[in-house]
Structures are given as structure tokens and as C-alpha cells.
């Protein structure tokens, strides 16, 4: 090791300062456990929003419909898997392949809705696959996903921004996924193509926006002066 340079002296001073200021820390819980904590908070907020807005009148009928349950299960699984992946990506040494964790539930979600489009078309013809404007979906998903997104961001900031864009993209997917999950308990829109375009589309747009803001939302902390 080269010695005697001023810069190495600065490093030695930094080491001394860090060692002096080192308070005991508790090892962070496993990402899976942290994701479950987050999911409980996110679902509680989603439930509160459903209660505040008022559940859809045909909810009892819907929750006994296998297709609705499958779509909702896949949306929820996508959100939770994305949260696990996002939290894991902030742990140094975690395999980067974890970013693909939500791919399977997301494929089931989109696949189920795509099959639903075909079924709607077979049953109702062109009327079953008509797209009409429904921008409220975006607003509701963003609104319901806002608090979960904030909580998840705070949790992510305790980790390391190793892959900030991927991390916030997954966090956006997680929060918007939960937002969409809650939305369908009060929003009476079940036409598969409409759900695919306006709801899954909104989730995708929000996740992409979050991903683009990755470096801003998860910066490396500045060096103290």
C-alpha cells in the first residue's frame, strides 16, 4: 500500500470519524419479511380507500367469480413479488436476477386478461372488446398507490441504491399493483380489454415513471463536509 499521501491521510481521518460515530445497528430483516410488513400496510390503506369510496354493489357476486379471483390474485401477487424484488435489490450481494421475480405473476395477470378479451369477443362480438375512455383508473391507482409507494421508498432508502432505476420501477409496480387490486373492489369495470388497457396500462405507466426517476428517488447519500 502506498503511504504518506494527503488523500490517504484524508481517508484515515474519515475512518477515524466513522469509527468514533459508529452506533450499534441491528441487522436488517430479510426482504421477504420486510415486503410482508409493507404489504400489510399497503393492503390496509387500500382497504381504507375502498371503504371510503364505497365498495361496488356487486362485490359479493364478484368475489365468487373464479375469473375475478384469478385476476385479482395475479395482480396482488405481482405487487407483492415486485416489492420483494425491490427490497432485495437494495441489499448488496443479492442476485440481480431477483428483478425478474414479478415476471411470472405479471404474465399470469396479463395472460388471464388476454384470454378474457378473447372470451368477451367470442361472447359479445365487437361490443365486448370496445375501448372507451376511463382515465379515472389512472387517478385511482395513483391515489391508492401513493401511500404504499411512499412507505416502500422509505424502506428502500435504508438499503443501498445498487440498481436505482430497477428498484424504483419494481417499487412503482408494487404500489400500483396494489392500487389496481384495491380499485377493482369499488370500480365496476370488468371488461377484460378495458382492464388490460386502462388498469394494467396505468400500472405499467406508473412503474415506468417511477423507474425513470430512480436516480433522483434513490441517490447515493452525499459525503458529509
Amino acid at each position: 500500500m502506498a503511504k504518506g499521501t494527503d488523500t490517504e491521510g484524508d481517508t484515515a481521518a474519515l475512518i477515524a470519524r466513522l469509527a468514533r460515530d459508529a452506533a450499534p445497528v441491528r441487522a436488517m430483516a430479510h426482504p421477504l419479511r420486510r415486503a410482508m410488513t409493507w404489504a400489510v400496510i399497503a393492503l390496509a390503506f387500500g382497504a381504507a380507500m375502498v371503504w371510503a369510496i364505497g365498495p361496488r354493489p356487486d362485490l359479493a357476486e364478484r368475489v365468487s367469480d373464479a375469473r375475478f379471483l384469478l385476476e385479482q390474485g395475479a395482480a396482488l401477487a405481482t405487487g407483492v413479488a415486485a416489492a420483494i424484488a425491490a427490497l432485495a435489490l437494495t441489499i448488496p450481494g443479492a442476485p440481480m436476477l431477483l428483478r425478474l421475480l414479478p415476471v411470472i405473476p405479471a404474465a399470469v395477470w396479463v395472460g388471464t386478461l388476454s384470454l378474457g378479451c378473447l372470451r368477451d369477443w367470442a361472447q359479445m362480438g365487437a361490443a365486448g372488446v370496445r375501448i372507451t375512455p376511463d382515465p379515472a383508473c389512472f387517478v385511482y391507482i395513483a391515489l391508492i398507490g401513493s401511500l404504499p409507494a411512499l412507505v416502500l421508498l422509505m424502506m428502500l432508502r435504508r438499503g443501498v441504491p445498487l440498481a436505482p432505476r430497477w428498484t424504483t420501477l419494481l417499487a412503482g409496480l408494487a404500489a400500483a399493483g396494489i392500487g389496481n387490486f384495491a380499485l377493482r373492489f369499488f370500480h365496476t369495470q370488468d371488461a377484460a380489454l378495458m382492464v388490460l388497457v386502462w388498469q394494467v396500462g396505468s400500472v405499467a405507466v406508473l412503474a415506468l415513471l417511477a423507474g425513470l426517476a430512480g436516480r433522483i428517488l434513490l441517490p447515493w447519500r452525499a459525503r458529509p463536509v
Binding site: 502506498a2 481517508t11 474519515l14 459508529a22 450499534p24 441491528r26 448488496p92 459525503r223
Partner: protein, 193 residues
């Protein structure tokens, strides 16, 4: 106990895992030893990965890694080996540094273009495409209101001197002085960044 820990013990030094575990518990001495050991290893790693860096740049990255270690020390799981954890941080820090280096290069290029533009008084559209708007905005913070207005009108909105003089209620001569001073000052700021 892990294999690297055994190797370290065989050499008589406490394993990094042991030091990190004690550091997490608040042992300042163990933490000091750990940081010193990590600094030496990271210095070698950075020099190997980026041999073109100047010693002070290497040391900057080493310090960034140490700070990241400090801030993220709760994310290390005592059940896992320490080295892959710190190397992941170091790799990310190196990548981040490379990005900053590239950005600095672009800013240097923009500054050089800016220096040329103040000679070509009306507009130089090529320079406008090169100059990163964000870095210009940042550099504009240090300007006086009159200089800021001159840059805004002549460089960003691409007005001619006559148009800018009319829009600002100033004179062509005053604007020429303001843009000249602003360009010199911005060039200084951009190079410094």
C-alpha cells in the same frame, strides 16, 4: 464459520465477518480495523479496475465506498460472507463514478463549446445542441440578474441581439457585455464542476 473467515484466522487476523459483527454491535475499535482493512483492499481493487485514475480520484472512490459501508452496515446479514457484500457496494460505486466521469466529460465539452460561442455573437445552433440544459442552468446560478437574462434570451431562446435588447428593454451594447461576462463566468463554473 465461513471459508474466508477460516483463511483470515489462519493468518492470525480476525476475519472481516467477525469485525463487522462487532462493528454492528457498536465496537469502535473493531470498526476502525474493519474500515482500515476494507480501505486497503478497495484501494487495490479500484486501482486494478481503473488503472488510469489519479491517486486522489482513487481515494475519492475508496472514501465513497467506506461511507456507503457505514450507511448500509445494517444491510449486512451476519450469516453471510462479508466480501461479496462489500464488493457489490464497490462495484456500484465504481459504476456511479464512471457515470459521473462521463457527465463531467460532457460538461467539459459543453464548456469548450460555450467558450467558442461567445465569439460568434448572433447564435450558434450547434453549441445549443451540445450544451446540456441542466448543466447550463446550474452554472447560471452564479450569474447576476442581467447576465442571467442575457444567457436566457441570447443562448437559450436563441434571440438576436436586437430582439433580446427589445425584449429586455436593454441596449445591444449592454447585452454584449453581459453575455461576454456570463460566458466567461459559466465557463469557469462548468470547468470547476
Amino acid at each position: 464459520m465461513t471459508a474466508p473467515a477460516d483463511q483470515a484466522k489462519a493468518k492470525g487476523a480476525p476475519p472481516l465477518e467477525d469485525l463487522m459483527q462487532r462493528a454492528q454491535a457498536g465496537d469502535a475499535g473493531a470498526y476502525h480495523r474493519l474500515l482500515s482493512e476494507v480501505a486497503a483492499r478497495m484501494r487495490r481493487l479500484v486501482q486494478r479496475r481503473a488503472p488510469w485514475l489519479k491517486p486522489e480520484d482513487v481515494e475519492d472512490i475508496v472514501q465513497d465506498i467506506l461511507l456507503s459501508l457505514h450507511q448500509a452496515r445494517s444491510t449486512w446479514d451476519p450469516a453471510r460472507p462479508f466480501l461479496p457484500w462489500i464488493v457489490a457496494i464497490a462495484r456500484a460505486r465504481l459504476a456511479d463514478n464512471a457515470r459521473r466521469y462521463m457527465r463531467r466529460m460532457r460538461i467539459d465539452l459543453a464548456a469548450a463549446e460555450l467558450a467558442e460561442t461567445f465569439c460568434d455573437i448572433p447564435t450558434n445552433s450547434q453549441a445549443e445542441t451540445v450544451v446540456n440544459l441542466m448543466s447550463v442552468r446550474k452554472a447560471m446560478h452564479g450569474l447576476t440578474p442581467a447576465e442571467k437574462q442575457a444567457v436566457e434570451l441570447l443562448r437559450l431562446r436563441e434571440m438576436t441581439l436586437a430582439e433580446a435588447a427589445e425584449a429586455s428593454g436593454s441596449t445591444v451594447a449592454a447585452l454584449k457585455v453581459a453575455i461576454h461576462r456570463a460566458m466567461l463566468r459559466m465557463k469557469g463554473t462548468l470547468w470547476k464542476d
